[in-house]
């Protein structure tokens, strides 16, 4: 039978039951669009993670003391890295810079007449800003009352902050100090990666003179500043060697001695963190996509169901086709074509719908949209396949219709 004629008859049959066909297609659209959305969001997340790591933070090694995975209740990181650790880490082969970072407890920040309550700001050293891109101004200098803010912090008050203006910081004990904003950055380049997931205002204060969290250094026996986190910027050529050396040092460090039991010291590169994040995102994507595939199965059942109804309704037509020379194969192909058309139309509608859903999700999460074209192709192919497979049994039933019985029907 002429394929064009088959297609023409199939299209007319589907159009003669517009609502029914549309609802069946809708079932497929929901399934495929869900798959496309989740796969695309997953791919976009991965691309975002890879993009972070490939940036200026590629050679960073992040040192943290965190509760072990199988430990007790989740707890915040502790300030265990002492000044002694920081200076020892500077001696490690391949360490270009070592940037400590601490949390400075405050109660409020005031700009002009606007006061914003705040728990803490970041204390770090000028080295944190080496390699950072400044939107305005420069890094602070150690020992001065200068601060650097990020873009989000610039707009945290009723008037926009700009370089050169004065900010008033109120400490926990009630002491208030005036500081001068000297720079605006997007990110320091030494902070833990993936901060873009939580885009919030940041204020960077110099450790000298502001940071005053101290512990007794076990190695030296004197009180020293202690930090929450240390970033070692390694020589690009020897990242893994530097990482091993850092890990080796950590075993005998003040941090190892100071950290409570149940805590682990880790020295992980951006790549390490990206790997575990990617793994997590991958697992989540697979799980959610699995759910979407289930809904696609429901769509497939919808096609099979409606095609069976169609075969029953059109038994007489099938008889006529056979009486005027149609073979079993002609009938089979006709019904398969109809089912496949339902799947194909579903897939064609679902792809833009799914991509639109993914776009909304990535806009919301503030990450770039990465369209996995291969997967979109797979989605369309799956639509066709779902239609064809769901139509297989109904079409087989149609092909087996006995023309004598069919024509006798009233």
């Amino acid at each position: 039978m002429d394929p064009r004629e088959t297609l023409s008859i199939a299209v007319r049959s589907l159009r003669s039951h517009r609502l029914r066909s549309a609802l069946t297609v809708l079932g497929v659209v929901v399934g495929i669009a869900a798959v496309v959305t989740f796969v695309t969001v997953g791919a976009s997340l991965r691309a975002d993670i890879v993009g972070e790591v490939e940036g200026s933070s590629a050679n960073n090694i992040y040192l943290l003391s965190t509760p072990a995975d199988d430990g007790g209740p989740p707890d915040a990181p502790r300030p265990v890295f002492t000044e002694h650790d920081v200076s020892q880490l500077r001696e490690v082969d391949g360490a270009v810079r070592v940037v400590p970072q601490g949390s400075l407890p405050v109660s409020a920040l005031t700009y002009g007449n606007d006061t914003v309550g705040r728990q803490q700001v970041t204390a770090t050293t000028p080295a944190a800003f080496e390699g950072a891109t400044f939107l305005a101004g420069r890094a602070f200098e150690s020992g001065t009352r200068e601060v650097v803010v990020n873009e989000r912090a610039r707009t945290a008050f009723d008037r926009n902050l700009s370089v050169g203006e004065e900010l008033r910081v109120t400490r926990r004990d009630g002491d208030a100090t005036n500081v001068t904003v000297v720079g605006v950055v997007n990110s320091t380049g030494t902070e833990l990666p993936f901060q873009s997931f939580v885009s919030r205002s940041r204020f960077y204060f110099p450790t000298e003179p502001f940071y005053d969290t101290v512990v007794e250094s076990p190695a030296l026996g004197v009180n020293q500043r202690a930090y929450l986190q240390v970033t070692v910027v390694a020589d690009p050529g020897g990242l893994s060697a530097t990482q091993s050396a850092v890990q080796e040092y950590l075993e005998g460090s003040d941090a190892a001695a100071l950290q409570p039991s149940g805590y682990d010291l880790s020295a992980r590169t951006s790549g390490d963190i990206a790997d575990s994040l990617e793994d997590l995102v991958g697992r989540l994507t697979r799980f959610v996509t699995g759910l979407a595939v289930l809904s696609l199965l429901v769509g497939a059942i919808g096609i099979a169901n409606i095609m069976l109804v169609s075969v029953t309704e059109r038994t007489r037509e099938i008889g006529v086709m056979k009486a005027v020379g149609g073979t079993n194969r002609d009938v089979l192909v006709l019904f398969l074509t109809e089912a496949t058309l339902l799947g194909a139309v579903g897939a064609l509608v679902a792809v833009p719908v799914g991509l639109a859903g993914a776009w909304v999700a990535t806009e919301y999460a503030d990450i770039g949209l990465t369209v996995p074209l291969g997967w979109v192709g797979v989605a369309i192919a799956v639509g066709l396949l779902v239609g064809a497979l769901s139509g297989l049994y109904p079409a087989w039933r149609a092909a087996r219709v006995d023309p004598i019985d069919a024509l006798r029907r009233e």
């Binding site: 004629e5 056979k322 009486a323």
Partner: protein
Amino acid sequence: MAETAHTPEPVVALEGVSKTYELGGETVEALADVSLSLPAGSYTAVMGPSGSGKSTLLNLVGGLDTPGEGTVTVGGRELGALSERERAAVRGGEVGFVFQTFNLMPRLTAVENVALPLVFQGWDRDRRRARAETLLADVGLADRLNHRPTELSGGQRQRVAIARALAPDPAVLLADEPTGNVDTDTGARVMGLLDDLHAAGNTVLLVTHERRIAEHADRVIHVRDGVVECIEDLDDGDRDGEA
């Protein structure tokens, strides 16, 4: 005139055909040892009450059914020896069905319905359309080419069905109670059309339970309980009286 020694090859021949059905655990003998032949250009009516086996006879000749015993030959091909695919080709090419209930495809236009058998025969689109238009013009429906069955009267539908039956230029035209679903006047016009087709040289096999309709034929085969009771030859005088 009747020279048995030199009859032409029959278009349809049944030899010792039997057919039984299982119906509710009981075996029903629809046809028992039926033999008959339709010469080319003949006009034959099969008459009998319902359940007599006349529909089974028509289904066998039309290649919709296969005999339990015996042979059915249409256009020189023995149907029992053919594959399903080949029998479909015979249905679409050698025989033309005209049904009591028209059996047109509801979503196809008149011209598409007429062209449908040619689709299965593999004709190309332009040839199909030209042939269908000619045939519809022949049955007086040149102005109804693109109408759907629901937009046509009963008589018009039956004429579309007759045009469809003629599309592949079949060896035999099979009409199953062709006037059963139309009023008397329309029925007379349908029968007039069949008479004309016979006059033009077509072989016609008509199944009916009405004597008045059967008398259009040259010959009436009376069947009852699956056997041929008698074959009645009608002269022209009887037919003209009815028409």
